[in-house]
């Protein structure tokens, strides 16, 4: 491997290659590829792809089985007890299917978060702002990477746990006043990692700050400042 591949386990590398969000190439690309090696694409039919042989959705199978089980219940007691067993197995299957669907949705959302984060961190117009903990949270610290073209990455540590009904809110303070960049909820250990897409027309900044606000945030800050950092000209 090249010197740059220090420590990149080949299995993990393979996994990272396959783990990207799958996107269909444009239909016209197929012809382009075939023509580039001298083929005449008009004579070649498209074969069924791997995607068309996708998994039989387990929720559909389960729903079908539920319908079958319901139909069977008009018959004898023997069948009825069989059905009770089947129904509990089906309930488990549904729970498993729901859990994995949620997981997949979460994974897709987080995968695109991760892509946005990398895009921000590698953008040519990214500015970095260090945020320091204020009197109410001297141990806290934070960092913002903001690319006006690609988005904003926010990380922080040691933020105090939020009381019920409250949230943290990130502000870009400009000459014309503070603009909200997003809401933050720290994890159990006081850490936050978030990716935001602030509006594109925020004027030039002077400061960035995190305040505590009521759940749902506000259009202007009202609560105490927890993190503040200079952002002149950002």
């Amino acid at each position: 491997m090249a010197a740059h591949d220090e420590n990149l386990d080949p299995d993990v590398a393979q996994a990272l290659a396959q783990a990207v969000d799958q996107v269909d190439p444009p239909a016209a690309l197929r012809d382009r590829v075939l023509r580039s090696v001298g083929a005449s694409p008009s004579t070649m039919q498209s074969q069924p792809t791997m995607r068309e042989r996708a998994a039989f959705p387990s929720w559909l199978a389960t729903a079908a089985l539920l319908a079958i089980a319901a139909g069977l219940s008009v018959y004898s007691l023997q069948l009825r007890s069989r059905i009770t067993t089947l129904e509990s197995e089906l309930r488990d299957a549904i729970l498993r299917a729901d859990a994995s669907n949620t997981q997949l949705a979460d994974v897709r959302r987080t995968a695109s978060d991760a892509q946005s984060a990398v895009a921000v961190l590698t953008a040519p117009d990214t500015a970095r702002v260090e945020l320091a903990g204020q009197t109410v949270a001297p141990q806290a610290s934070g960092r913002v990477f903001w690319s006006r073209s690609r988005g904003l990455v926010f990380t922080a540590s040691n933020l105090p746990a939020l009381p019920a009904g409250r949230t943290y809110q990130l502000w870009v303070v400009t000459a014309t006043g503070p603009v909200s960049a997003g809401l933050l909820k720290p994890g159990a250990n006081g850490a936050v990692n978030a990716v935001f897409n602030p509006p594109g027309n925020i004027p030039s900044a002077t400061l960035m700050a995190v305040t505590i606000e009521p759940e749902g945030g506000r259009s202007t800050p009202s609560g105490a400042m927890y993190l503040v950092g200079p952002a002149k000209g950002v």
Binding site: Q14, Q22, P25, V33, A55
Partner: protein, 200 residues
């Protein structure tokens, strides 16, 4: 009863069959069979395109990479050594190599228009033998594990893989100490390996 179990079962793992079909397609490509290339394209264009798109963040560039990768597969079909493992994994390797080359040349000279590369032998970065495709289940486990990594650990790993930045380059970009970058990569790798092995 067993009929119902068959319905509720998960998608069959077709990797072995696809691997056989891919090798047969390569053999036909080596004899100039265009239909064989079309077959390979239909099976693998999506993951190849997706990887190129992820690395380059640009659809036109990603399309170029797909065309180059399959053109290289066509040109090298007769020389492909089956001991190297899955054709699908090889295609992804080609895609990554070319995408990273393109990324680097774009960064070096952003004003330069990037034309189509000649179908030359792009040196395979992962000259590791025995590249095998992972099952959908394994990939899902890794995706979930990636999600569970702290953001900077995940971003560090991704910069190392999708942009092939060195530790020093990552440290400079993220403005982190070099030691921290190495630690994050090591820790991230351990967790992803565990996820692959299914031991988490």
């Amino acid at each position: 009863m067993w009929v119902m179990l068959a319905i509720v079962g998960s998608a069959p793992d077709r990797r072995a069959e696809d691997q056989v079909a891919d090798r047969a397609a390569l053999a036909r490509m080596a004899r100039g069979d265009h239909d064989a290339l079309a077959e390979l394209y239909d099976r693998h264009a999506r993951p190849v395109y997706s990887l190129a798109l992820r690395i380059l963040q640009d659809r036109a560039d990603a399309e170029d990479i797909v065309q180059e990768a399959f053109a290289q597969a066509w040109a090298q079909a007769s020389r492909y050594d089956v001991a190297r493992g899955a054709v699908a994994a090889w295609l992804l390797t080609l895609a990554r190599s070319r995408a990273i080359d393109r990324l680097r040349s774009k960064r070096a000279r952003p004003d330069r228009a990037v034309g189509e590369n000649a179908v030359d032998d792009v040196a395979d970065r992962a000259a590791t033998p025995d590249l095998q495709l992972l099952s959908a289940e394994q990939v899902d486990r890794v995706r979930v594990a990636l999600r569970g990594l702290p953001a900077l650990q995940r971003v560090t790993l991704e910069l190392a893989y999708y942009e092939e930045l060195s530790h020093a380059e990552i440290a400079e970009q993220l403005e982190q100490p070099l030691g921290t970058v190495k630690t994050r990569i090591r820790q991230g790798m351990i967790r992803l390996r565990e996820a692959l092995a299914g031991t988490r």
